[in-house]
């Protein structure tokens, strides 16, 4: 087919070439990378099961802190803990969406919980506190991260397995957390001595809400106290985002508002309640969501706040947060924001590099922790009523 002679003139050829390049660049790459977003949103069995199989295989094979790269052993151990916690959380969500795969994945969930309870995995927390979190449940020290994240998985497991062999430890941890929230000077309990983070407390309070709903145990006072803090004191007034750290003794902010903490807190809280998690999600979406050539991202810091990346956020690239972007995938799913989810998924697909190997799906740059986190985020259930 011959084109009109007008278009063969140099000026027209070059002008149209530039327009074509801009049109393709601004539409095609993001469309291509987001093409699987709808499948994830619709709980597509092939994708969810494919990634679950890879994560379950990682849990079965086991990971050690030698699989992680940071120079600080406490961070390596936290990532080991996070691999099992996020893996179990993701697999439980998949079992809930596809009960026919329960027999395939529940053993891996229980294996992950066994590892979370093992002395090796909880050693990082014990080292910093100079006491073991499970042996000191009657004590006063917080252990907010270890107990909160663990108890969330234990309670979600118990939801699906009423005769759970972990019911006893679930009850004991819930009672300890409720008592510590009640008696804490400002509501917040410590992750490590002198360090208190709203994000770690979010996992704990979500587990208490679910535990109360499931067993009838009364944690109302502790839950109401902490949710009140999430509505007001722990949020930066202008952006509505959570402060990354709060002073245990002073109750005042110790670090600025950030996406990584707010997004994961919203994700955990949305497992159990809708109101506060929705407020946090709205703040993230309104203050931090951006897009470049159709690729969505979440900035780590709101306007007027500046900072670099760290172990919480990952590298902050031109303001965009890797962790904040990944965690917001889950809240966008939980609150049914398909448009934001698709834009963020385009970025996750581009950076994560999904690769199929037989019936297994793996994000090539993810490693054990990245794939566990992505499973938990990409399969997050709708927010609790």
């Amino acid at each position: 087919m011959r084109c009109p002679s007008l278009l063969t003139r140099p000026l027209w050829r070059r002008t149209i070439a530039v327009l074509l390049a801009v049109a393709v660049l601004s539409w095609l790459p993001a469309w291509w990378c987001a093409r699987d977003a709808r499948r994830w949103l619709q709980n597509d069995e092939q994708y969810q099961i494919g990634l679950s199989r890879d994560v379950a295989a990682t849990i079965r094979a086991g990971v050690s802190d030698a699989d992680f790269t940071n120079n600080f052993s406490v961070f390596r151990s936290e990532w080991l803990f996070g691999t099992y916690q996020m893996g179990a959380l993701g697999l439980l969500q998949v079992i809930q969406a596809h009960p026919e795969h329960r027999a395939e994945f529940m053993p891996a969930v229980e294996q992950a919980i066994d590892r979370l309870l093992s002395p090796q995995v909880r050693a990082f927390d014990a080292r910093l506190w100079q006491e073991d979190a499970l042996d000191s449940l009657d004590g006063a020290n917080g252990h907010a991260a270890y107990l909160g994240y663990l108890n969330l998985v234990l309670t979600l497991h118990r939801q699906q397995v009423p005769t759970s062999r972990f019911a006893g430890i679930n009850d004991r941890i819930s009672a300890a957390l409720a008592r510590r929230f009640d008696t804490s000077p400002h509501g917040i309990i410590e992750t490590y001595p002198g360090e208190a983070y709203p994000i770690d407390n979010a996992a704990g309070v979500a587990s208490l809400i679910l535990h109360q709903r499931l067993t009838g145990a009364d944690h109302t006072a502790a839950i109401q106290r902490i949710l009140a803090c999430y509505r007001s004191y722990w949020r930066e007034p202008k952006s509505g985002l959570l402060y990354q750290a709060i002073g245990f003794r002073s109750g005042s902010p110790q670090a600025g508002p950030r996406a990584s903490g707010t997004a994961l807190a919203a994700t955990f809280l949305a497992c159990a309640e809708r109101e506060v998690s929705r407020q946090l999600f709205d703040s993230i979406r309104g203050q931090l969501a951006g897009s470049l050539l159709g690729f969505g991202y979440i900035r780590e810091y709101p306007a007027d706040w500046h900072g670099g990346g760290d172990v919480d956020s990952g590298p902050v690239i031109f303001g965009a947060s890797i962790s904040g972007t990944g965690f917001t995938l889950a809240t966008a799913r939980r609150f049914g924001d398909a448009s934001l989810f698709s834009r963020l998924y385009a970025s996750a697909d581009f950076v994560g590099v999904p690769v199929w190997r037989g019936d297994r799906l793996r994000f090539a740059t993810g490693g054990p922790l990245g794939n566990s986190i992505l499973l938990a985020m990409l399969t997050a259930s709708p927010a609790a009523p």
Binding site: A21, V22, T69
Partner: protein
Amino acid sequence: MKSARPIRLRQVVWISVSLILLHWLCAEVLVRVPLLEHLLSPGSDSLDALLMLGVFFALRAAVFLFLPAWIVVSLWFWWTQRSAPIRSSPPHPPATPAGRGR
């Protein structure tokens, strides 16, 4: 003035296929080498891994972001070049009869 080289369809196809294959090969290697930990939380031995990731993402950006636009623009140039009217070549000088004009 230097004239633009004509676009050859075979060249466009070769470059595209080579980049896509190279990208696929690198992704297959990356599946076996977990690198996100280095990206999220670099340690003292992360330099090589970060360099590998940098090269891979440069290649991925080339394949996913720029290759489609380059293909479309190349096809456009190829099509308009192919459709352009063929310029008549300058008249040849009259053939010199052999053995004359020396």
